[in-house]
């Protein structure tokens, strides 16, 4: 290993990809998923491949491993050189010695990547034995070392455990241990932290960095998250529609992106500073990869495009900083257009400034002492043996026309709060009051009439619509149920209005949901909610399944609708950058309770609770502000047996004896800013 290390430490290219093309043949078309990709990964560096869904980044990584699903997919051209061997010329048998041993891979979904019926120790040991001549005993020893290396506490006990006994973060660590078993020169990490919470993401990213330092391996990081790229990468390649459109050093890329697409990606990130304006959106959508392009692939969506872009495929142009981009703007042989697009975009921006909503504050929703407990039942007779305290004594208020963000990691009960307010789950105790009506006291029949005031938008735009209903019927459903919107003809006009209001066109009404993209479906869901003219919309992670540029469109739409219709939102999310862009107030939730509550500026600029601080610091941002990530120990405990005292105490760096004895009462920092922590008592 030491020898290998010294070999890897000499700088120089490890993997060279030239002209890689991977095509998919279907019965009637050829989809060029990867269409001429060139890049080099140097020894020991982290190379990030950035792109939105469907741009071909995962297919590129599968091509490197020769794991493209055959026979539909085929690598039609190019070479992939690991040192001097062309992997594309290898036989399948030779490839098996490359996979895992020289190039290893980890995937996004740790839940499905492990075999549920084998202990994790056995799964790691298998890979260890496969790639070396360890005897049984030393293979086990090596496995324990690996578990230790990936930061799994008590490896001896974990060795005997099955995947379902581990949390998501732990499973991803096991996946990394398996990948490391062959001591690879290159680790391909395909969205390794996308399925994890921010605090866990921070742990896993740190681990990858540490392991890279220890072993000297190179990492190819595939992601859609600019923040993760900023934190991890040495070099960045941006992929769009099957091609790499820009490559640059990390610092160069973040300070001065060259390609119009990269620039747009930065502009569409929601941040605090953009609060009063629209986010930049990339108009249109990703082109179909089943065509042969005559010009630039990004041309239909580009603000800078001129005639040449339509008719001539751009060539790769090196920029003076060692990077390069695929754009006519950088080509000295192409004449630039007279009109600089900066003026154009600026004009749009000033026009789009959103006026601040007046400060008149009337409360729309009161939630007081809300408790939602689910019984845990066991045995033949379904005896209740305990309660999951999903929501435990929670109070909040939402003013008219404002947005309250409810922030927390998965499993903290934030979605249950939304359902409790909607009365989709009847609260165990407490009071949910909308204006003067106490919703949780209403009888089912009265409640049905009141339901039009509160609506919901879900995270998953795929399961939130009935695949067998037409868009018109989907939007009309609420109007029929609530008997609003007049007769069939008036309703149809209203459906058309609504579709246009959410940025679709009236002729979409006769289509089925599967004909739309994720962002368009989310628009239809918004139209469905708006159809009954609600006062409050509960947005349950509405943008977390969407790409950044599409997310910007939906956030803009939500903001516009709020101004136009005076809507209030309860915005349930784990994404803090969305919060600072959209929300007015923020409530941070941990294990069923709100630990910090205040105006968005107060909480974001001056977080008080240790959990809020850790959460904020764990979000990878694109600014390199040198702040330190506050590491949290372990993961969120189960709400069946919450820790005694302050629920956060086992993970808190400031925990004192007091914290283990009782739950702190709310402490008012300012009139609006409250925190539940003994530090401030």
């Amino acid at each position: 290993m030491a020898k290998q290390n010294s070999k890897q430490n000499e700088p120089g290219p490890l993997l060279t990809v030239t002209g890689l093309k991977t095509w998919f043949e279907t019965s009637d078309q050829t989809v060029r998923a990867v269409d001429g990709v060139d890049f080099t990964i140097n020894k020991g560096e982290t190379f990030a491949l950035l792109g939105e869904s469907g741009c071909g980044k995962s297919m590129t990584s599968l091509s490197l491993m020769r794991l493209v699903p055959e026979p539909a997919g085929r690598i039609v051209a190019g070479s992939v050189k690991l040192h001097d061997e062309d992997l594309l010329q290898h036989t399948e048998k030779q490839m098996r010695n490359v996979r895992g041993k020289r190039i290893a891979m980890i995937f996004q979904e740790p839940m499905t990547s492990l075999n549920p019926v084998l202990t994790i120790g056995r799964q790691i040991r298998e890979t260890v034995s496969r790639h070396s001549r360890f005897g049984d005993f030393s293979a086990k020893k090596r496995t324990l070392e690996l578990l230790e290396a990936v930061g799994i506490p008590d490896p001896k006990r974990r060795y005997e455990e099955y995947p379902h006994q581990l949390s998501g973060g732990m499973k991803q660590r096991v996946m990394i241990a398996i990948a490391l078993a062959g001591d690879p020169e290159l680790l391909i990490a395909d969205e390794p932290t996308t399925a994890l919470d921010v605090t866990i993401q921070a742990q896993v990213l740190d681990l990858l960095k540490k392991l890279q330092k220890d072993t000297g391996m190179a990492i190819m990081l595939i992601t859609h998250d600019l923040g993760v790229v900023a934190k991890m990468a040495d070099r960045v390649a941006v992929m769009y529609a099957g091609q790499i459109v820009e490559q640059a050093d990390r610092n160069q890329f973040f300070s001065n992106p060259q390609h119009p697409y990269s620039k747009k990606l930065f502009d569409s990130l929601p941040t605090m500073t953009k609060r009063d304006q629209h986010l930049a959106v990339i108009r249109g959508s990703v082109p179909s990869l089943a065509q042969v392009f005559k010009g630039c692939r990004f041309e239909p969506r580009c603000d800078y495009a001129w005639d040449v872009c339509r008719n001539l495929v751009p060539r790769w142009c090196d920029t003076n900083n060692g990077g390069g981009a695929l754009c006519h703007l950088l080509d000295p042989e192409q004449e630039r257009p007279a009109k600089t697009p900066d003026e154009k975009t600026k004009a749009v921006e000033t026009e789009a400034v959103i006026r601040k909503i007046s400060a008149a504050k009337t409360q729309l929703l009161h939630v007081d002492g809300l408790k939602i407990h689910f019984p845990v039942q066991k045995g033949l007779f379904k005896r209740t043996v305990g309660f999951v305290k999903a929501v435990d004594d929670l109070s909040l208020e939402i003013p008219k026309g404002k947005t309250l963000a409810l922030v927390g990691e998965s499993g903290c009960g934030k979605t249950t709060v939304g359902k409790g307010i909607l009365q989709l789950v009847r609260p165990t105790a407490g009071c949910v009051k909308l204006e003067d009506v106490q919703l949780n006291r209403l009888k089912p029949k009265e409640l049905r009439g009141k339901r039009r005031d509160v609506q919901i938008i879900f995270q998953d735009p795929f399961s939130s619509m009935n695949p067998r209903m037409m868009v018109k019927d989907i939007i009309e459903e609420g109007m029929i149920a609530q008997k609003v919107g007049g007769d069939a003809k008036q309703r149809e006009t209203r459906v058309e209005e609504l579709l246009e209001q959410v940025g679709l066109s009236a002729e979409h009404k006769l289509r089925y949901p599967h004909e739309f993209s994720g962002g368009q479906r989310q628009r239809i869901c918004i139209a469905r909610a708006l159809a009954v003219e609600p006062k409050l919309i509960i947005c349950d992670e509405p943008t977390s399944a969407l790409d950044v540029s599409v997310q910007a469109q939906i956030l803009n739409l939500l903001k516009d609708l709020q101004v136009k219709l005076g809507l209030s939102y309860l915005f349930i999310t784990h994404n803090l950058s969305v919060v600072e862009y959209l929300a007015h107030e923020i409530a941070v939730m941990y294990l069923g309770r709100i630990v910090e509550y205040g105006q968005v500026e107060e909480v974001m600029n001056n977080p008080m609770h240790p959990y809020t601080k850790a959460l904020l610091s764990a979000v990878p941002t694109i600014e390199n502000d040198g702040r330190e990530v506050i590491k949290l120990r372990g993961e969120m405990p189960s709400p069946v047996n919450p820790p005694v005292g302050c629920h956060f105490n086992p993970r808190c760096a400031h925990a004192k004896q007091k914290c283990r004895n009782g739950y702190p009462d709310p402490h008012a920092v300012t009139e609006t800013h409250k925190v539940r922590c003994f530090l401030y008592d």
Partner: protein, 276 residues
């Protein structure tokens, strides 16, 4: 590899449908045809297939061709009725138990488990034996066993569809539970149930033949494939055509129904895939 077998299946899938159509036509029109299934003629006892008759004669000199065609009626009617009755009972119970849950669901699940613990055909034999022979009793016996599978499938389908977010959205919009059921649940659970029913038909055809073979089904002189095989079994060495003809017909129908069911499943699968 898989794609190839699928393609060849598509081509073959025409003959199963042709067979099923013939089966239905013979079953419905059989009684109207000029057939003499019960005409006894001792001069042609056990005559093998030949010039006199296409498929030969049985031990009483009755034409086997005519009897096979009338036997189609028995198997068709029994399968149709059993599927209808089982579907009605099974789907209703499955929906109600999944939709409302609670103690009712608990009881239904226990009953399903108990029924599944019995070998179905034995239970049907026992029931038919107690109630006595006759086509109605065969239907009752087979339905008693048959509803369980549909109930279990329906319950599982409803439970998984119930989790989908568009149902919660519909509740949040204030839709009535009946309208949620007809608009959001029923259309989504129908496809797998129809496929299951098409496979169920094949099973019932065999079960009916089995009961008739044991003498619990249609009574002589009425023809059914099962009792034709039973009659022929005694003359197996002398006149194998008496067993072979109804046996092959039975096999063809069951195979055809199964293949058609496969095709139906593929059809629904493709639609689901394109809609996801």
């Amino acid at each position: 590899m898989k794609a190839k077998t699928h393609k060849s299946l598509r081509i073959l899938a025409h003959w199963p449908i042709a067979i099923i159509i013939c089966w239905c036509l013979f079953a419905l029109l059989g009684p109207l045809l000029p057939l003499q299934p019960n005409e006894i003629d001792l001069t042609r006892i056990l005559l093998p297939p030949g010039e006199a008759s296409v498929l030969g004669y049985d031990d009483l000199g009755r034409p086997i061709f005519d009897r096979v065609i009338l036997g189609a009626k028995t198997s068709f009617l029994v399968s149709l009725w059993v599927v209808i009755v089982s579907l009605l009972i099974g789907v209703t119970l499955g929906i109600v138990s999944a939709y409302y849950g609670g103690w009712f669901d608990h009881v239904v699940v226990q009953i399903i488990d108990i029924f599944l613990a019995f070998p179905g055909i034995l239970l049907a034999i026992a029931l038919a034996g107690i109630m006595g022979p006759g086509i109605e009793n065969v239907v009752i016996a087979l339905s008693t066993v048959g509803w369980v599978g549909y109930a279990r499938l329906t319950r599982a389908q409803v439970l998984s569809v119930k989790q989908r977010e568009h149902i919660q959205a519909a509740v949040a919009l204030g839709s009535q539970s009946t309208s949620i059921f007809y608009k959001h649940i029923l259309p989504l659970i129908l496809a797998p149930i129809i496929v299951e029913a098409s496979f169920g038909i094949a099973g019932i055809v065999i079960a009916e033949a089995g009961l008739s073979f044991l003498g619990l089904g249609v009574q002589p002189p009425e023809a059914s494939w099962g009792n034709m095989i039973r009659d022929g079994a005694r003359y197996l060495l002398v006149a194998p055509h008496m067993v072979l003809v109804p046996g092959i017909v039975l096999m063809l129908v069951v195979l055809a129904v199964n293949l058609a069911g496969d095709r139906l499943r593929d059809y629904f699968d493709v639609r689901l895939r394109s809609s996801v």
